[in-house]
């Protein structure tokens, strides 16, 4: 018998895939796979770690829980959903991958993602770079000042923070205010020229959510709630996430 062969015997035991099905609407259609392979060639991570979406799902279906909950492939998936977009059975493979990630012990998960999530949990910015709210406010005001002066046609341009009643609540990836502040400006200009009523929040301004990629439910919920609460408190109508 070949080394990697699978033996199925005795009573069926509830396993990883059954637990995930419980969590998803319609069970994520996880049982419905026709093994057609449409997902396989569309997947940017197919072939990495000798894995692809169909194979991953099949292993789950065969109850190979030890393998599916330890394969590093789940961290190579980009959650792009090119698989479920074309899947005739609309199978929620990204959520299956997400839950496989969640089954990993925290200290075994990729440190880059884990540390970024920890940074976001440090203060109310949500920033994966750990930037404090005050720093963000300072950078925005400083950059705005500079452009209003150097470009007179934008002398009236605004970059409001915590403006009550603004229509749009805008999020911002931390990378711009921290490392490329000038990159903030083009979007402001567009919003200015379009006459849009918008605001940043001093809290929850960072758009990235590494805790989600870490598949840590309480943490990504916390991060999301910080942003949402700030938007609600300001009375914004629309939440714009630029990530």
């Amino acid at each position: 018998m070949p080394e990697n062969s699978i033996v199925i015997t005795g009573k069926k035991k509830s396993g990883f895939i059954d637990a995930v099905k419980e969590l998803l609407p319609e069970g994520g259609n996880l049982n419905l796979c026709l093994t057609c392979g449409a997902c396989v060639s569309g997947c940017p991570a197919a072939g990495l770690a000798d894995m692809d979406p169909r194979k991953f799902l099949r292993m789950c279906a065969m109850g190979l829980d030890d393998e599916v909950t330890t394969t590093p492939w789940v961290w190579m998936c980009t959650m792009c959903e090119r698989c479920s977009y074309v899947c005739p059975m609309k199978i929620n493979i990204p959520q299956l991958v997400f839950n496989a990630r969640a089954s990993w012990p925290r200290d075994k998960r990729p440190s880059g993602i884990r540390n970024s999530c920890d940074m976001a949990l440090r203060n109310d910015s949500n920033s994966a770079m750990g930037t404090a709210p005050d720093d963000f406010v300072f950078v925005v005001q400083d950059v705005l000042e500079e452009y209003r002066e150097s470009q007179p046609e934008f002398a009236d341009m605004q970059a409001p923070i915590d403006k009550e009643g603004a229509h749009f609540f805008l999020n911002q990836n931390s990378r711009e205010p921290v490392t490329e502040p000038d990159e903030l400006v083009p979007l402001w200009k567009i919003l200015h020229l379009a006459g849009v009523d918008w605001t940043y929040g001093s809290k929850g301004w960072a758009a990235e959510n590494y805790c989600m990629f870490l598949a840590e439910n309480e943490s990504w919920e916390h991060v999301t709630r910080v942003s949402a609460r700030q938007a609600d408190q300001l009375g914004a109508k629309v939440f714009l996430n630029t990530e």
């Binding site: 990697n4 015997t9 005795g10 069926k12 259609n29 419905l32 026709l34 093994t35 194979k55 005739p88």
Partner: protein, 1011 residues
């Protein structure tokens, strides 16, 4: 006298509607046939060729279409929609709305002048085709007339003046009318899935991504490219073509149907084969598929031919996307493979999307007006055991609207719907035909003693003939032959306009013999006989040179030699026809009784139908009791119990005053001719001989469960067939509850070298039994090992249910079948899972084998010999035409129903039994048997009364009469020609095949070699 509502309304003029209307009309029932289009024919008129014969469709269809408009019982109403339906079975009131055609049908000759001058204003194409062919919708269109798009017309006067016949009527406002009918056959057909929104397949953005129907149009001689296969983007011949299956079928998102569209696999195979036939090694064809569903009769062989003979490549994969990157001329298809690489990109010139069927939105609305219950896909729900019966009494369906299907099954259901609808009519009083009812034929010209004046008409049959040989040169050549007075190229000879012209030329040029150089006399002889009869010639003064079948189809790649052979055939036909003489047809009274052989579901259904229509039926069953194989089945996939059906059929059959059941009946001899058969059988325990006289015969002898000695069957008690499994589930659920793991193996004894065909029923049986096991024992783990899951039509939804319930389906290849081993009281099943590329061993409590059906080799062989019916290689009875006449057997007066024809489900058997009865009814409605003129004639002066003919005749017809010479009754003669060939004195001639005509043909054939 007919009451005004004593007729059937047929909604939809596609193949199903035409078949239904013809069956009803031939059975002397009145029909009103309504179609929304300008001309009838539906989807099939757009197909280039049809599987599995790969014949041109128009040629097989055209005779049906013109019959449709010819039948006196059919009122054909085109460009008309049904807007409202009220009433109940027996008395429906229907509102019709007819759109204006702006052309007077009685005047239009379809000359095409209007279209030539104002192409923008004149309609002639079926929506799909945006590039104009130079013909009408198709050359054999019925009705044969154009239609004007008045909204686009900017100069009505000029348009009117363009018409030499004065047929254009700008004051046509359309019309509304109310009609009454007793029953309705709803056959609107299917629409095709529109893939425009599937951005990843590139249909909307890329000209070279086409649907399968568009590809069909590109291949078609009457299509936009006149049959040249070219890439839409650049007009060049493609080198690589790919098909992607299941687009819009078997899906849960983006508007796809959950069902399987059933016909697309064969459709793609056909397109690939035709493509390979045309271009051979110059073109590569690849089909991307999930499961190859060739479950129809002999379809598996077709698939094997495509793969092994034509070199069509099959890739089991659903491609992710079809893209055309900047700077690349071709389409790039991205797909993954099982055992090989997961991300392959390959370039193709054309990508064909095999788009499935759906119900059109307006059809859904109309179904609502009819009050029909619909399923999730919008198809009307139908009776579990009778697919043509809807939720509304008096309303029947057939064809794609019942469920996606191919043409043969559509034809079966159309005939079935016809007899069901006929059953709702009040019995009409017999009306004597008045002279005015019959088409007045001119008296026949006397031609005996006249110098022969032969008219030769060469048909180019579109590309079929004209694309291979120089048909014009052939006509010119024929003009040089002796006795030929007129020779001309006649385009599509079987189109209405051509036939009219031929008729006129015969009259004007005083032609007294006619040769048609075109297609097969088998399909078209009767049609051309009618043409010359209308022109005043006896119908036997005709010869057909079969240039299409015998030259251009078989020598497509040798144009020069082909033209020479065509000349030979025409010369032979001319030589023969000049010696032809007028002949008289013979007729006999029709016996209206029926013999049904086989007392299963199909046989009983057919017997009951025909008995209800007033015919005496003899039902001969080989075993001691009625019931057949269905009696062994508990429930259907859909959950209907089978026992009540069988009980009810048996009770009604045995009680019916018009049915005589003969059990323990063994057919031993058979004689006679269609309309007056005699069949002898030994019956009962004592095997008494008795003889039945009957006009038609229905064979419903069934098939047998297969039981190959494989996978430990009959060696290990844990191994059983599906049939045994379902009995166990019903009778001993306690045992089933003890099972932890169950394995099913599909295609056991089917799709093998010994039995190449698919048994059709086993995939749904496995799904059914897997679901049943889970009802009893939800904790059981079930593995189904399959080669292709063939859950066609709505069965697909049960396949999905089974997966949803946790059944695991794993594919195996014929080259690496699963291994089984008995270990203690378990069965160890080992197989390779192609997705994982790993070996899996299941310690199963039970192994179930899907063993399918096989033909009853001994029984069928015996019957085939006695009745002289051909069989397929695997022993089933072979129908007359697999596409258009699926229940008619090649021997007239014989029909086949149920699994004697091939494996099928109970409801399919019922439909076929109804269809067989419907076809039988068309014959039984006649009062006389038309024998034609082919009979042996004895020259009394030459006869030496040697008795050779008396001994040689297989039917015992000749006898030496009181005057001392052999007499052969033309009414009894079968026209086989045996006596003529054995007569030493050459005293016997077979009419239509007289010696001098045969000799003339031979002389003409060998003229070149002799000279």
């Amino acid at each position: 006298m007919n009451t005004s509502n004593n007729r059937v309304l047929v909604i939809g003029g596609g193949m199903a509607g035409i078949r239904t209307a013809l069956d009803l009309a031939e059975a002397e029932k009145n029909v009103i046939l309504v179609d929304r289009a300008y001309s009838i024919g539906g989807l099939m008129t757009q197909l280039d060729r049809t599987f599995p014969t790969n014949n041109c469709d128009l040629c097989t269809l055209a005779p049906n279409l013109s019959e449709g408009s010819r039948q006196e019982h059919i009122e054909l109403v085109t460009m008309t929609t049904v807007t409202d339906v009220k009433g109940t079975k027996g008395d429906f009131t229907v509102q019709l709305e007819t759109a204006p055609r702006f052309i007077n049908l009685d005047k239009c000759t379809a000359c095409g002048e209007c279209h030539k001058k104002f192409p923008e204003w004149v309609r002639f194409t079926p929506g799909l085709d945006h590039r104009a062919p130079t013909c009408m919708r198709y050359p054999q269109a019925t009705p044969q007339a154009f239609s004007i798009d008045m909204a686009k017309c900017t100069d009505v006067k000029a348009l009117m003046e363009s018409c030499p016949a004065g047929a254009i009527n700008p004051d046509d406002f359309g019309s509304r009318r109310e009609v009454k009918c007793a029953s309705i056959v709803f056959v609107p057909g299917g629409a095709l899935f529109d893939p425009s929104h599937l951005d990843y397949l590139g249909y909307a953005a890329q000209a070279d991504v086409v649907t399968s129907l568009e590809y069909e149009r590109i291949l078609s001689a009457s299509g936009p490219t006149m049959g040249r296969l070219i890439r839409p983007s650049n007009g060049q011949q493609p080198k690589k073509v790919a098909w992607i299956q299941c687009v819009g079928s078997r899906g849960l998102q983006k508007g796809a149907g959950q069902y399987c569209s059933s016909a697309c696999c064969m459709f793609a195979l056909k397109e690939a084969i035709v493509t390979k036939e045309r271009f051979g090694d110059d073109i590569e064809t690849t089909i991307f598929y999930m499961d190859m569903r060739t479950m129809g009769k002999d379809y598996e062989r077709y698939f094997l031919r495509a793969r092994d003979e034509f070199g069509v490549r099959f890739v089991r994969s659903r491609p992710h996307s079809v893209l055309r990157p900047a700077g690349v001329d071709n389409l790039v298809v991205t797909y993954g493979t099982d055992s090989g690489p997961v991300n392959v990109t390959e370039e193709f010139d054309i990508v064909v999307l095999s788009t499935g069927f759906r119900v059109a939105d307006d059809v859904r609305v109309l179904a609502g007006k009819l009050g029909l219950d619909l399923n999730s896909g919008g198809f009307p729900t139908t009776d579990g055991f009778n697919p043509v019966v809807t939720s509304v009494p008096g309303v029947y369906v057939a064809g794609v609207i019942e469920a996606p299907k191919d043409i043969p099954e559509t034809m079966v259901q159309a005939s079935a719907a016809a007899i069901m609808a006929a059953g709702d009519l009040a019995p009409a009083e017999k009306v004597e035909k008045t002279e005015a009812d019959q088409e007045l034929l001119p008296p026949e010209f006397g031609v005996v003693g006249e110098e022969p004046r032969v008219g030769v008409f060469i048909c180019d049959c579109g590309e079929n003939i004209g694309g291979v040989i120089d048909a014009g040169a052939l006509a010119d050549y024929a003009g040089t032959l002796p006795h030929v007075a007129v020779s001309r190229l006649q385009g599509h000879g079987c189109s209405r306009e051509s036939m009219r012209q031929i008729q006129q030329i015969i009259v004007d040029e005083k032609i007294n013999r006619v040769v048609i150089g075109g297609c097969s006399p088998r399909t078209h002889e009767a049609k051309f006989q009618e043409v010359i009869r209308k022109a005043g010639l006896n119908r036997y003064l005709l010869e057909i040179a079969n240039i299409r079948d015998q030259v251009t189809w078989v020598h497509a790649n040798r144009a020069e030699g082909a033209t020479e052979k065509a000349k030979d055939l025409v010369r032979m036909a001319v030589g023969s026809v000049v010696r032809s003489q007028p002949l008289a047809d013979h007729s006999l009274p029709m016996n209206k009784d029926v013999l049904v052989v086989g007392g299963g579901v199909a046989g009983m259904t057919a017997a009951l139908q025909l008995a209800d229509h007033g015919h005496k039926v003899y039902l001969a069953e080989r075993s001691a009791a009625l019931g057949g194989q269905a009696a062994k089945i508990h429930r259907t996939l859909e959950g209907d119990e089978v026992a009540p059906l069988v009980r009810d059929l048996v009770a009604r059959t045995e009680a019916h005053a018009n049915i005589q059941v003969i059990t323990r009946a063994l057919i031993v001899d058979h004689s006679g001719l269609p309309g007056m058969f005699k069949t002898g059988m030994q019956t009962g325990r004592q095997m008494f001989y008795r003889q039945i006289e009957h006009g038609v015969t229905i064979l419903a002898t069934g098939a047998l469960p297969n039981r190959p000695a494989q996978y430990l069957l009959d060696e290990c008690s844990q191994v059983s067939t599906q049939l045994e499994l379902q009995a166990l589930i019903a009778e001993n659920p306690e045992t089933v509850r003890t099972w932890d793991n169950v394995v099913m193996i599909q295609c056991v004894g089917s799709r093998t070298a010994d039995n190449p065909n698919c048994s059709r029923i086993c995939c749904q049986t496995a799904v059914k039994n897997a679901l049943r096991i889970l009802e009893v024992n939800p904790e059981a783990r079930i593995f189904v090992l399959y080669r292709d899951m063939r859950t066609y039509g709505f069965q697909e939804e049960y396949y999905q249910k089974a997966r949803q319930a946790g059944v695991i389906f794993a594919r195996y290849s014929a080259e690496a079948p699963p291994q089984v081993k008995a270990v203690g009281n378990m069965v160890e099943v080992t197989f390779n899972d192609p997705v994982l590329g790993r070996e899996i061993t299941v310690n199963a409590d039970r192994l179930c084998l899907s063993t399918g059906l096989v033909a009853d080799e001994d029984g069928n062989d015996e019957l085939a010999m006695i009745f002289k019916i051909p069989r397929t290689a695997d022993g089933y009875f072979l129908e007359d035409h697999v596409k258009l006449r699926p229940v008619d057997l090649p021997v007239p007066g014989f029909f086949v129903a149920g699994t004697a024809h091939g494996p099928k489900l109970i409801r399919e058997s019922v439909a076929q039994a109804l269809a067989a009865s419907s076809r039988a009814l068309t014959m039984l409605a006649r009062d006389t048997i038309d024998l034609g003129a082919r009979a042996a004639r004895v020259d009394r002066d030459r006869c030496a009364a040697c008795l050779v003919c008396v001994r040689a005749c297989p039917f015992g017809i000749p006898y030496i009469n009181a005057d001392g010479y052999s007499e052969i009754d033309p009414a009894k003669c079968h026209g086989c020609g045996v006596c003529a060939s054995v007569c030493p004195a050459k005293a016997i001639q077979l009419m239509q095949f007289e010696d001098d005509r045969i000799m003339a043909k031979l002389e003409e054939l060998f003229e070149r070699s002799i000279a």
